[in-house]
Amino acid sequence: MHNTAVAHAHHAEHPNGIWRWITTTNHKDIGTLYLCFSLLMFFVGGAFAMLIRAELFKPGMQLMDPLFFNEMATLHGLVMIFGAIMPAFVGLANWMIPMMVGAPDMALPRMNNWSFWILPFAFILLLSTLFMPGGAPASGWTMYAPLMLQTGTAFPFTIFAIHLMGISSVMGAINIIATILNLRAPGMTLMKMPLFVWCWLITAYLLIAVMPVLAGAVTMELMDKYFGTSFFNAAGGGDPLLFQHVFWFFGHPEVYIMVLPAFGIISEIIPTFSRKPLFGYTSMVYAVASIAFLSFIVWAHHMFTVGMPLAADLFFMFTTMLIAVPTGVKVFNWVATMWRGALSFETPMLFAIAFVFLFTIGGFSGVMLALVPADWQYHDTYFVVAHFHYVLVTGSAFAIMGAVYYWLPKWTGHMYNETLAKWHFWLSVISINVLYFPMHFLGLAGMNRRLPDYPVQFTDLNQVVSIGGFVFGVSQLLFVACIILCVRGGKKAEAKVWEGALGLEWTLPSPPPYHSFTEPPAANLIWAHPYQND
């Protein structure tokens, strides 16, 4: 005989130890797993970057042979994109989306567990290629044919790892879509959703639309190598150039997959610390949707130098420049939100302001690269490296760091150490500009990317860049210290951690209960947290 109290007490428990993390279907646990994994991969990918910058500290060959340099460049790209940035955003989505829409958990919790646990195996597989005959893939993260086909034993393992990462991303995206569409609390209409949720809905849409293209592209490479097909083999009637079209049809939306959730995060942080509702909520939603749509029709701006017809060059140039319009709307709205707001500058806000300023620099260099005649000059130089690092590091990575500081008190129930966090911010923001800004000049002066050696006249700027890189790398240890100290203790955080915070997640205690909303929040609670000021 069992009484009901026993059963209820039992249900309130959850497993502890390693089994909790392996078998969990709880959105917060899985979000934590994603975030920890992405932090680990951030340091692995960062270590590869440190090796690259150490080699480039002086002209000539110092530490590694050219093949290993290219292996480092390839793995740095793959690990940072698929291992650090994307899982971090999925982790944030797992933690926050159910709380933001008033759901008890994700719609497909078991699939959520699988989609995370595929990732460690994918990256063990990818990183194990370093120890295989012929070394790791060295063709760059773009895996261009026929260069990629020259990879040794690592080739099929890399392709399989890419497939696993793609499966994980698709399952994560399906889960997010199902949660947002089906589990919103009564009263939470689409146009009442927080911007972070909107941005993730559109990102998930993009992920589902383009992942089959990546899977198809790498499968065709596999078939060319092992099954005698000639998709990209000119000798057999194929065309290696077409790989670039297929890849960038995936690759450019992929860039937005890594940026749109960052837009959502910034749209949460800035209103909170401006103590004002977001300016132009509706236009923000339409701007994100427009950027997502345009991302499908700009892919060949990565390939201006391959010799496309003039009409194609012009089409892709104009569509690319068109993206500046909705992006400009977003930047304008963030600035307008801050305008005459009661601003305060806690660490999340500092990261958000740095994002707006530095991402805009990346955006401007993107407009320069969109110009066909200019791109012929800049293509494959360090100008491009500077451009996409301003977008992905001071853009995506800074947004992730801001998000972690913003929601860490909610997750742990403790306030983080603000002084340490500000040290982290200022060291990061200064060193990142020392790291990436001189790359513009190196690129304009003609220094090629993906080469382990360079002419002696580039030495000074390369040394500055490398020093910036090392300082940025070391300063990230402060980020880890902040997180660990906050998890272990600190001042107790209230339910509504930030005075100006809007949204359902701030109605839950800090830390939130194991199951977020055991009852759908009342509609008046949603209406009491407006995201629109109209």
Partner: protein
């Protein structure tokens, strides 16, 4: 989600999961994402890159299956009616409907502990060797509220908690 009829002569509890996706919304979303995914797939196939379409179709099938499962779970519902002498339970998902009747005097509320730690506990109404699960689509806290409410409605004799 629980809704209780305020009528004191006949108590009725309606249990349906929260579902914010309408049928029209389901089809609109699926059609738009299928168009965005299959159009490039078909275009690449016409240019000889058929594996892209194969993956796109596989992915659309997976997405459709997942959305269908979510939507089907949302159609599930239970109506528990407690009259002066009987307890009626009607439940189903639109295709399979189940109707059960229990004598209110003999009806018992029974809680089954889960067979594994992560599984939810279950609430049953039992009488004369027959059992019927209620509150399957609820969270633990909601099910506990339901259990308390049913214990009040069915009467003190019904709350024995046998397993």
């Amino acid at each position: 989600m629980l809704a209780v009829n305020p009528d004191t002569a006949m108590h009725c509890i309606v249990i349906v999961p929260n579902r914010s996706l309408s049928v029209t919304g389901w089809w609109l979303f699926y059609a738009s994402i299928a168009a965005a995914t299959l159009t490039p797939g078909i275009w690449f196939t016409l240019n000889g890159f058929w594996p892209v379409l194969a993956y796109a179709i596989l992915e659309m099938l997976l997405l459709g299956l997942c959305l269908h499962l979510c939507w089907r779970q949302g159609r599930y519902g239970e109506v528990i009616t407690v009259s002066s002498s009987q307890v009626f339970v009607d439940k189903g998902d639109g295709h399979h409907l189940e109707h059960r009747e229990f004598s209110r005097y003999w009806a018992q509320l029974v809680v089954h502990e889960p067979c594994a730690r992560l599984h939810p506990w279950r609430l049953y109404i039992r009488s004369h060797g027959e059992e019927c699960e209620v509150g399957r689509c609820l969270t633990g806290a909601e099910r506990a509220t339901l259990e308390q409410r049913l214990a009040q409605l069915i009467g003190p004799l019904g709350k024995t908690g046998f397993n």
